[in-house]
Subunit: 398 residues, 2 copies
């Protein structure tokens, strides 16, 4: 595939399967300046598909660095009121959102104060976005766009073409009909999610090197694949690629230790060898060979930031996993292996209001990190205490 | 000067002399994605100078093209409410603004429908910006940043280095102390403006090839240089470079014909050989060898768009003019030669409220174009009708 054809096919998939953009909708594309070539094709294709208004909000990692390095302390976590007005208005308009990830420089923040880097996030915007998505006001998706810096992190050299080919494979863009391939794949994931919901496990138990973790589940919670519908009935796929089934656990019942099985890229710094110890649902200890300060600062954002909001299962059949690559990017790496997220849970996955209030986690933070792999076994714990293999030797056993 | 040192010196000049950024101020930098290298240095230097919050709003000519090519008719001149909220809030905060100009592709819109291109502007935002600047709420400046596309338009080849050297010369960045050079230069321009105000001409009369134009002046109007002060007392320079003295004329009293002496770049298309005929203050005829449709569409924005809002005088001593280049960019070209602008006038230049209401032009449009040069003589018409040379043989005669 040449460059232009690649962007064209990618844009079509992202708008049709990812956003499922509707005629007359507004679309906000959020990305880095380095993603401009893809953003431009997306904007053009969105208008061609009948969008009413398309805007691209270009972000810049170097500005984020300048903020963290030089801005007054109070500015770090400030959300400008016009940004809230913007998102609020787009929510009320039932707009579509498309976010492009893929760091220009994955370690641009590595030498800065981790505490300031962890604090530098628009927490108020995160909370508003949580409300907009919990209320299913908008259809949205996240996709990746290779950059030289990202490719360098993956391959040790700026092999952008190699990274594009890997991304294409995970997106099934190399198949004759990617849209059909995604429909079939999402159907499969939804069947797995339904089977897990049916089992009504009381908890999950993860066992592997450095990991012995139990996470309680909510009795009215359900498992889902990343295919959702807005309040207006628009069906969309919030992540491309996606290989996971996931639910939001009981924030009160995480116990034990867990070791990350892949590095975690926090948009400018890398957290290596992360290990967390949970007690009574809450992170009691954070260890990492790099980036621990930034994780601790994130967890200080609000009371829910140090509790779990998501558990997700991925087995060895994942197209992302089968590339054999560490992508150093959560959108991809979380779809290569089982993962959990500290921070916010998903309200729509919990049927019972009372149970959601008591047990579902709330936070402005939501950070996924990878804890699965061939050496990690996952068991479902039945209400009586019996443990049933859910993933053994990197395969679902349901 | 190497690249980094150049950007550093430029940023310092723009923030000190252009914006005169104050400690604790917010700063909005508006530019194209192609200007990112300069925007990043400006952001860093702004924080170092004590800014509280710096944001960069990256625009993209290719998105503008997609809008004009594909968007529904009603979207073309739409201003999103959150953009108004944003600017309104920055006005109330007495923020600083810095705009970077310099097209990535000066003819990106050339093959599109000129009517749609002319209509595609956020007129509501222009009106809000006019109010913010008329009320002197914010300190702001406009500077240029060379791009390969712009350099190609100037030199017929993408000689970015050549364009940088020309820009540096016009900005006096090649002098030992650019800040001091600008202070002296602006003082000189202010003396010229004061001398013109003192003369109390009733009108200007332009005579040259294709030009025989009389423009009435307001009796309580004054001439100014581009050095202003906010309501908070911050003195700033809205254009860098600047070589002009200017006033806002009586919108009712433009008569005759005028031929542009340089091409006019409208941010994506070029207007060549523009000729306007005025009758009773209003443009009665628009001719051009390219771009006439876009000019006519602009003039259809509102009733004031086809009347004059500014007359500006520049003589042959201009550092911009002395480069001998056509910059294909109004920030530079308007400082190489006398120019006039159709559209909005400047409220703060007219002392008498009643006269401003009757004679000052109001519009969402303000487009400068060049009408001066060695062959164009400018006369001041005294209240009695006598004509006095103001610029003869490209030199002020005051």
């Amino acid at each position: 595939m040449n460059g232009e054809e690649r962007l064209q096919r990618y844009a079509e998939l992202a708008l049709r399967v990812g956003d499922n953009l509707q005629p007359g909708q507004d679309l906000l594309i959020a990305c880095l300046v380095e993603h401009a070539p893809l953003a431009r094709v997306l904007a053009r294709e969105a208008y061609r598909a009948g969008a009413r208004w398309v805007e691209v909000q270009y972000d810049d990692q170097q500005l984020r660095r300048a903020l963290i390095e030089f801005a007054p302390e109070d500015t770090l976590d400030w959300t400008p009121p016009w940004v809230l007005a913007h998102y609020d208005e787009l929510g009320r308009r039932h707009a579509a959102f498309l976010r492009i990830v893929g760091d220009a420089d994955p370690v641009i923040l590595a030498d800065l104060d981790g505490r300031r880097a962890g604090r530098a996030r628009m927490a108020e915007l995160s909370r508003l976005w949580a409300r907009i998505t919990d209320d299913k006001l908008v259809n949205w998706t996240v996709i990746g766009c290779p950059t030289p810096g990202w490719a360098n992190q993956v391959f040790g050299r700026p092999d952008v073409e190699g990274l594009w080919q890997a991304v294409e494979r995970t997106l099934r863009l190399d198949t004759p009909d990617p849209v059909a391939a995604w429909t079939a794949h999402l159907d499969r994931l939804e069947r797995t999610a339904a089977a897990l919901t049916e089992r009504r496990f009381d908890a999950l138990h993860y066992l592997g090197p450095g990991t012995d973790l139990r996470v309680g589940l909510l009795s009215s919670g359900r498992w889902a694949a990343a295919r959702e519908s807005t309040s207006q009935g628009v069906r969309y796929t919030p992540n491309l690629p996606t290989e996971e089934v996931f639910t939001s656990p009981d924030r009160r019942r995480s116990e034990g230790t867990v070791a990350a099985t892949r590095p975690l890229s926090l948009g400018g710094l890398v957290v290596r060898d992360l290990e967390l110890r949970f007690q009574d649902g809450r992170v009691a200890e954070v260890r990492a060979s790099t980036g621990a300060d930034a994780v601790r600062a994130q967890m200080g954002t609000d009371p829910g930031a140090g509790m779990l909001g998501e558990v997700a299962l991925v087995d060895g059949s994942s197209e992302v996993g089968r590339t054999g690559l560490v992508f150093w990017n959560s959108l991809f790496d979380e779809n290569a292996a089982c993962h959990i997220a500290y921070g916010r849970g998903f309200r729509y996955l919990v049927a019972d209001d009372r149970e959601a209030e008591d047990g579902l986690n709330f936070s402005a933070v939501h950070t996924d990190f990878m804890i699965g792999g061939p050496e990690v076994q996952v068991f479902g714990v039945e209400p009586g205490g019996a443990e049933v293999a859910v993933i053994r030797d990197d395969r679902f056993e349901l």
